[in-house]
């Protein structure tokens, strides 16, 4: 009985996980509610002057590179990040505009790369979840067949139902993690936009 309840729950779960939101035909493995934007375009986050060669040169400036890695880390609180930007730019003197461009170019590169990594991971897990759901569905049918067999093998039924319970738990846990991780690309978007806005303000 318990097994049967589980099986029904699993089936519902597996079906629900794929139909929470209308899928985007371009990205069938994208598991998040917000439609996928594969990478952030510069025009979406920067209305300042053209970055020009800052896009490649920021890496050569040790001070900028160090600041970029500090500001890109999610463990750096936003108010601390904002303070560092202000300090760096106000101490830049006549290099202020050039430094501002280098800094934003570095943040744009680094945070975009970070975001792509997270998104690739999400799609990988989503693919695995789909396979897991298929497997659970298959085994549920097998279990039902075993339970209904005329010469029922109790040991086998127990083994398979235990396995199913175990697999379902993993499936559910991963689903929770996916929902949580779906917020990460947005948090990165948010950080990049906020720092970009501040850098542009400081340039004025």
């Amino acid at each position: 009985m318990i097994v049967r309840v589980w099986a029904v729950a699993v089936l519902t779960l597996a079906a629900a996980s794929t139909a929470v939101h209308a899928a985007d035909p371009r990205y069938p493995n994208w598991p998040c509610a917000q439609a996928k934007v594969p990478e952030i375009s510069l025009a979406a986050v920067w209305a300042g002057p053209e970055l020009g060669d800052a896009e490649t040169k920021w890496k050569d400036d040790a001070k900028v590179a160090a600041l970029v890695s500090k500001l890109s880390a999610r463990k750096t609180p936003m108010d601390e990040a904002e303070k560092s930007v202000k300090e760096f730019l106000s101490g830049s003197g006549s290099d202020k505009t050039a430094n501002a461009k280098l800094l934003f170019a570095g943040l744009f590169d680094t945070l975009n790369a970070q975001r792509s990594q997270v998104m690739n991971g999400l799609e990988r897990v989503s693919r695995k979840q789909r396979d897991a759901a298929d497997k659970i569905r298959e085994e549920t049918i097998q279990l039902q067949a075993l339970q209904g067999a005329s010469s029922r093998d109790d040991a086998k039924v127990d083994a398979l139902s235990n396995e199913l319970i175990w697999k379902t738990r993993i499936f559910e846990d991963r689903n929770k993690v996916v929902r949580f991780v779906c917020e990460v690309p947005t948090a990165i978007d948010q950080r990049l936009f906020a720092l970009g806005r501040l850098i542009q303000q400081e340039m004025e």
Partner: protein
């Protein structure tokens, strides 16, 4: 001296005649921010139920209704006391709603059970349900109140519902993930935004046919970032504003030509919008940067950014 007097007189004349009040639902912080359009500041933050999204003033301006999806209801805020005073019987996970011109009947799209709930606003009771497509969302009523349009996110359709028989009379296929529907004030066209399709479909409501499309293209921006959601049209039906989500822009559209004339950079992930009653300003909710942008409608310029709660979703302004 005389000149100064004249100048200050002019400035005085240019100042807004009276301030308006805007209410913004913050989906993640479970609050509603109240904005004064004179000072452009948040004057109060009201605690509401879980996951507030669709928000609208009653026609008499006395109450604000806000759909709190995770609490499966619509809460009613008294605009005078700025406190939640009642709730309305929606279905599960209400998201957006529309009221008739008289402000007597409310139609609510319930995202989770594929229905639209019909509510008597005076008695605050449920009159019935209409079965619609999967994940109903966008809602609008024709200016004469006879046709209700509801979009379904998953079946990519706009359902035309006869409000007297409460039956679906036509289904019109639009581009992927339709989010919002808006009638022209003269009722000659309905505009429907498609978030994944990246377009706005223009539908002839008499023939139930797509008669045109508005396309968007922003140099240097990936196509996937252009996700049209909110639509706001000026009363003269000449200009439409379309919120483009993570493109972080609002498109200004020539309604007659169905062509974009300008893109305005606002905050991050812009979804919904509301005009002040004098149509001088258009306010937009920017869900990721957690702010509201103020657009000067005549100048077509962003003049202000106001920080609100987390994940601002909907906005309504007192009539």
């Amino acid at each position: 001296m005389w000149r100064v007097g004249l100048l200050s007189g002019l400035l005085l004349a240019a100042a807004p005649a009276h301030a308006f009040i805007a209410y913004v639902s913050n989906e993640k912080s479970n609050t509603v921010s109240v904005i004064d359009t004179d000072s452009w500041t948040v004057t109060k933050t009201i605690k509401v139920g879980q996951r507030p999204r669709g928000i609208e003033f009653t026609r008499d301006g006395k109450f604000v209704m806000v759909a709190v999806g995770d609490d499966d209801t619509i809460q009613v805020i008294d605009a005078k006391t700025q406190a939640v005073v009642d709730s309305l019987p929606s279905g599960p996970d209400p998201e957006l709603f529309a009221q008739d011109a008289a402000g007597k009947i409310l139609y609510v799209a319930n995202e989770n059970d594929n229905t639209v709930t019909v509510i008597d606003l005076e008695k605050r009771t449920r009159l019935g349900d209409i079965q619609v497509g999967v994940e109903p969302e966008g809602m609008t009523i024709s200016p004469d109140g006879k046709i209700l349009i509801n979009t379904s996110e998953t079946t990519n359709m706009a359902h035309f519902i006869d409000t007297s028989s409460r039956q679906i009379v036509a289904n019109v296929l639009v581009d992927a993930r339709p989010r919002y529907a808006e009638f022209k004030h003269d009722a000659s066209e309905v505009w429907i935004s498609s978030e994944i399709g990246g377009t706005v479909s223009v539908i002839d409501p008499g023939k139930h046919e797509v008669i045109g499309k508005v396309n968007f293209e922003i140099p240097g921006l990936r196509k996937e970032a252009i996700q049209p959601v909110g639509i706001a049209m000026t009363k003269d039906d000449k200009t439409a504003f379309v919120a483009l989500g993570p493109a972080n822009r609002v498109a200004v559209v020539d309604v007659g030509a169905r062509k974009v004339t300008k893109y305005l950079l606002v905050g991050q992930r812009v979804w919904h919008m509301a005009f002040t009653p004098d149509e001088k300003y258009l306010l937009t909710t920017n869900g990721v940067s957690n702010d509201v942008s103020v657009i000067d409608v005549a100048a077509q310029k962003v003049i202000k950014t106001i920080q609100v709660g987390e994940l601002p979703w909907g906005i309504t302004i007192a009539p």
